[in-house]
Structure formats: C-alpha cells, structure tokens
Amino acid sequence: MSGPLPLLDATTAAAEIADFCARLARAQPALRAAIDASPENGCSERELLWRDGKTSLYRYRPLRPAVVSTPLVIVYALVNRPYMMDLQADRSLVRRLLEQGIELYLIDWGYPDGADRLTELDDYLERGIEPCLRQVAERHGVEAVNVLGVCQGGTLSLCYTALHPERVRNLITMVTPVDFHTPGNLLATWARNIDVEALVHAHGNVPGALLNSVFVSMLPFRLGSQKYVHLLDLLDDPAQLATFMRMEKWIFDSPDQAGAAFSQFVRWFFQENRLALGTLELGGRRVDLARVTHPVLNVFASRDHLVPPGASRALRPLLGSRDYTALEVDAGHIGLYTSARAQRELPATMAAWLVGRDPRRRARSSSTPRRSTKS
C-alpha cells in the first residue's frame, strides 16, 4: 500500500466523518419509528385450520377465484420463520400467488422447545407434512395437492414425495439443497468436521442464535458491518427503513432446532450427502428420489451463498420425473423471496406452470402431447 490516503482530501474526509456522525445520531429515533409491531404474522389474511404441538396449518384467504383445481401447500424450512414469504404487501410471494388465483396453505413449524428435542426428521414428515396435506386434500376433495417446498422445506418435501408419491400432484422446490457436496458449499464444508452429536448433547435443542452467528460468519464483513453502515443511507426513506427493520427481525428471529432432527439433518444430509447418494432412510424406509415421477419446477438463485445453485441443480438426474423445469433467477437466497424482479416474475411463472399441469386443463387438452423439459 504505497500512500493511498493522500489521495483523499483531508477536508473532504473530515466532512464525511462529520456527516456520518450526524446520521448516526439521527439513526436511533428513525429506526425506533420504523419498527413494525408484528411482522411475524405476515401481511396477508389467513386462518388457522389445524394445530398439533408446535405445527400449524394455515389457509390464506383467496384474493380471486382459483385458476387451478388443486391447492398449493407451502412447506417452509425449520431454520427460519415463514413470514419472509409474506413480509409486506409489496414484498410478498404469498400475496402475489394469491393474486394469481392460487389457493394457498402454509405449514408453520413454530418454535420448538425443550419438549421437542427428541423430535426426528421422520416426525416432521409423518406427523407434520402428512396430516396437513391429508387435510387440505380432503377439504378440496382431491387425492393429491401441489407442494411448494422452500429451502430446507424443499428438501423435506422431496423426501416426503418420494415416500408418499400418491399425496403430491405437482412439486415446486425453491432454493432447495439436494447435493450437499458440490464445490463452493461453504456451509457443508464447515459442517463436515463438526461433532454434531456432541453439539446436540451440549445444547439439547440447537439455539437459533448459534445458527445465525454461523450464517453471518459466512459473509462476516458484509453482514456484520457493511450492512449497518449502508443502513445510514436509508434514514430519510421511512418505507425502506421499515422494510430493513422487518427483514432484520426475520433474519434473527430463528427458532431453536429440535436436537434430534438437527443432528440427523447435519449428519445425513450435510456430512454424508445421503439424499444425493440415494442412501437416505427415514422412519426405516429408503428415500428414493427416482420415485418422484411428478412434474417438478426447481427454482434456485444464481447468487445464493447459503444454497449454491449447484446444490439445487443436482436434483434433475436424481428424479424419476420426465416433466422437469429448472428456473435459475439472478438473485441471492433472500432476494428470491423479496426482490422486485422476483416479485414480478416468479409468482406468474409458478402460477402458469401449475395451470399447465392442472387436471382440469389436462382433461380438456388431453389430445395435445405434453412437452418434456428434461433432456
């Protein structure tokens, strides 16, 4: 470094520091004013249909008549809260899907506590996804429903579909890790040498705060420092400030992870990559993705640092499906839910994809041959 600072004019630098300090002083009241009362409920109207333990099934109030005869059930991840899907009116994948005429349900896993530490992955499938899908199917008088699995929820949805193919009609996976050993998967690289049994023994349930610190430490300078410095630029924009505060709440509002399920997920998926290798067993049954012969729409983000696109792309050759569509979006992991572009394009694409595979429509156009996107 050969004297770069002289390139900066001292007077300009001093003025910049003064401005920074002035913004810092204004930040506290501005941020306090921007705190939302309860973003955790989302912004769309919904009703609770069923609850068992911490698991809840919600139904969103439709915004227009349904365009498909099969409802869509969102299976969210265990590691975060699902209100990111419905953060605010202009950043809500839920609302955009409702506007498209998709009947929408959500499985919310809640906040596990000490009594849930022995809950296993199989329990999430058989005592969570299974009764929820069954109820939605019964309610609509259909045998199978459409499923949208998000992030880890996508991985669980794939496992569920492989074990209960008759319950799912069409499957959408969103930023879903499948192959955990692709290059550039920092999280999997870090997880490889962790004694997860000891971790779970030490903590019981694995604290959400611990997971958050791991996620932040993946981009420590950007997420631990730069993000907050740039926040000072938003002080004069209350709407953007409110969005920031909602996102901030969501990011750190992480449920603790049921110890047994966490241990299984880290060991079987991150460390041993059993899903991609075809060696995964849940509840004594082998999870064979070749049994997923359903139409699959796989959505992933090209700049995702948590689930690298390669981890999702790996799904294609593992499926038994002949109707596979991959959709790579130029976004990050969270941008896929909230960015303006994603809001504009993604729900319409999902709705069109579902409409094209709706049994009502298929019955009408059964004479037309189906195009397979898998080659």
């Binding site: 050969s2 770069p4 900066l8 520091i17 530490r117 920092l186 040498n193 903590h203 993946m218 300078f221």
Partner: protein, 214 residues
C-alpha cells in the same frame, strides 16, 4: 458427600490460580500434569481436571482461529492497498472514506472466502466448536452432580422422562391409527349363528344318568 463438597473449593481455587498465572495464555502443563485423582473424592477431582483440560483445549482452538483471522485482516489490507494503488494508476482515485471502506469490505470478503473454505481454517473452526461442546457437556455434568446432591431435578432426568413419553406416544400411535382407520370399514358384528352342535351335558346331568343306570 461432605468430603466431595469440601474438595470443590480447593479444586476451583487451583483452577483460578492457574488462570491468573497464565495472564491470558493458559498454563496447559499445570492442568494436564495435575496429580492423579485419589481417595474418596477422586471422581470429583477427575471431573474438575477434565474441565480444566477442556478449558485449555478451547483456549488453544481460539488462539489458532484468531491467528487465521489475523491473516485474513492482513491479507485484506494488502489487497486493499493494491486495489487503491491500481485505481490511482488508472486515474480513478478513491474519492471518499465510504468508497475506501467498501473496497476494504470487498477485499476482506474475498480473502475470507478463500481462507475460510480451506483446510486449516475449516479444521480450526470445527475444533473450536467441538471443544466448546465438550466443555459445555463437562460443565453441565459438574452442575448436575452438584444438583443431585441437593435432590434438585436435572436436565438428564427430564430427558429421560421425555424419552419415556416419546416411547409411550410411539407405542400408542400405531394402535390409535390402526383402530381409527379400521373403524369406518369394520362391518357391524353379525348375530351369532345358532350352534348345531349338541351342548355338552353338565356334570349334574351325568351324575343323574349314572344314578338311573343309564
């Protein structure tokens, strides 16, 4: 119990003194070469020695990881310097502290991405996590040992109860599910058909027959 309790302050004092003497760097030798545990309090002595060993293990792992972070910072500043110099050469000097800061963040993330994904860092970080877990387990074991002496319930006991409840729930579930699924399909019990077999004679009837010479 009194003896075992009496041993604790002594052990704790020894640990505290070792920590103080270490002045930031723990005296590993003091703890690891502690005399072998003997006598009625040997279990307690061993538990404390184990704790001490784990404290050292965590401290060593922290030091190794801190060294990796120092390297990240140093290389980030070196890359920042090169970037700033290159910009000056191109006639695009850094015009504000903010842009300098942003360039530093870019450089630091780049370097972090390289170092944090590579072998020594990954192992140091895992060792810190594993050592911390082991320390936490040892701390809890000591705490539970103490709580048991006062008959206070512990996490281990609660876990045992949860395990039993889970087993009971799992045993009950298949029965409930199978009976629930069977219920609607189960046909109504038909009236029993009248038996065509002759009813066996009662003992009294047999005796009556014998008396009659039948």
């Amino acid at each position: 119990m009194t003896q075992s309790l009496a041993a604790w302050p002594e052990a704790a004092r020894g640990l505290w003194e070792s920590l103080q003497n270490g002045a930031g760097v723990l005296p590993m030798g003091t703890l690891l070469t502690a005399p072998p545990a003997l006598g009625p309090t040997r279990e307690d002595q061993e538990a404390w020695q184990r704790l001490g060993t784990l404290i050292v293990r965590v401290a060593e792992a922290q030091q190794r990881l801190a060294a990796a972070w120092t390297e990240i910072q140093q290389r980030a500043f070196a890359e920042l310097g090169e970037e700033v110099a290159a910009r000056a050469k191109r006639g695009e000097p850094v015009s504000s502290l903010r842009s300098l800061y942003d360039l530093w963040v870019d450089a630091a993330e780049r370097v972090h991405g390289q170092i944090a994904a590579a072998s020594p860092y990954v192992e140091h970080q895992a060792e810190l996590a594993n050592a911390t877990s082991a320390l936490r387990i040892a701390e809890r074991e000591l705490l539970e040992r103490w709580l048991r002496q006062y008959d206070v319930p512990t996490r281990a006991e609660l876990d045992s109860v949860h395990r039993q409840l889970r087993e009971l729930s799992r045993q009950r579930r298949p029965v409930t599910e199978s009976s629930a699924s069977r219920a609607p399909a189960e046909p109504k019990p038909k009236p029993k058909p009248k038996s065509t077999l002759k009813r066996p004679r009662s003992v009294k009837a047999n005796m009556r027959r014998r008396k009659l010479g039948a």
